[in-house]
Assembly symmetry: C2
Homo-oligomer: 116 residues x 2
DNA sequence: TAAATAGTTGAACAGTTGTTCAATTGAATA
DNA sequence: TATTCAATTGAACAACTGTTCAACTATTTA
């Protein structure tokens, strides 16, 4: 008979809702994570952390076709995660923001710890 | 005539490759990010950071059907991000690991900074 | 200017994902 | 025990995603 769960109480739910970040921020967050959530893109980002590279170099490093890499670079560029600078025939890509790399490091460390 | 890009040099590529994390880790990382890359799951995680809740409570908080929430809870449970404890008719869910929450906070802060 | 090289782009396709709906399970209560 | 409530599960379906292929653009070199 006793109500254990407070979830029937609308005020309780409203209280939790109020403490959540606003919807726009949550959408932005999940969009950002979505970008990291693909192996090819993640490998491109990690590769670019090591070296600035042209598309062909990235393609060889991550073992993906030139076209596939170029498509993903566009996604990363649109998300302002990488930038390209043209030099002659090549376009050299690098990370926009080293800052974003803390995210990847944090995830990496978490998983490493989880492993042993 | 001068070769500007070092990407034609196989040793250069091999060098970058060697400095990358191994494939398994990259797959684990992208799998983790994939989970955060969905708005419903992200909202569930953020809600559970605030309060332990039963499925109906979560469902009301994130404005999704009971079934949709339950399906996503299974994904989160399989990934060891949340755990459930049964108490009577209800199952109460909470975060497995507050540690993982640093990731979300890092992303949130990054986006907040980017905004203004 | 013509050819070659580096990269981009759009359409198409297969594979994956998330939600809904209906059926089902598990626990408490009448 | 039969009923009710809370949650889970599986199938189906639509929407989305990532790769490939072919065509195209931009820059350099012959």
């Amino acid at each position: 008979m006793t109500k254990i769960c407070d979830c029937g109480n609308d005020e309780f739910i409203a209280g939790v809702k109020k403490r959540m970040p606003d919807d726009d921020l949550i959408i932005d967050m999940s969009d950002l994570f979505k970008i990291f959530g693909d192996g090819t893109r993640l490998r491109i980002l990690i590769a670019l952390e090591k070296e600035e590279m042209c598309v062909e170099g990235i393609s060889k490093t991550v073992d993906m076709s030139l076209s596939a890499v170029s498509h993903q670079l566009k996604v990363l560029k649109d998300a302002k995660l990488v930038k390209g600078r043209r030099s002659g025939k090549q376009v050299y890509y690098s990370l926009c923001d080293e800052h974003i790399f803390m995210l990847l490091k944090t995830a990496e460390e978490h998983l490493r710890e989880e492993r042993e």
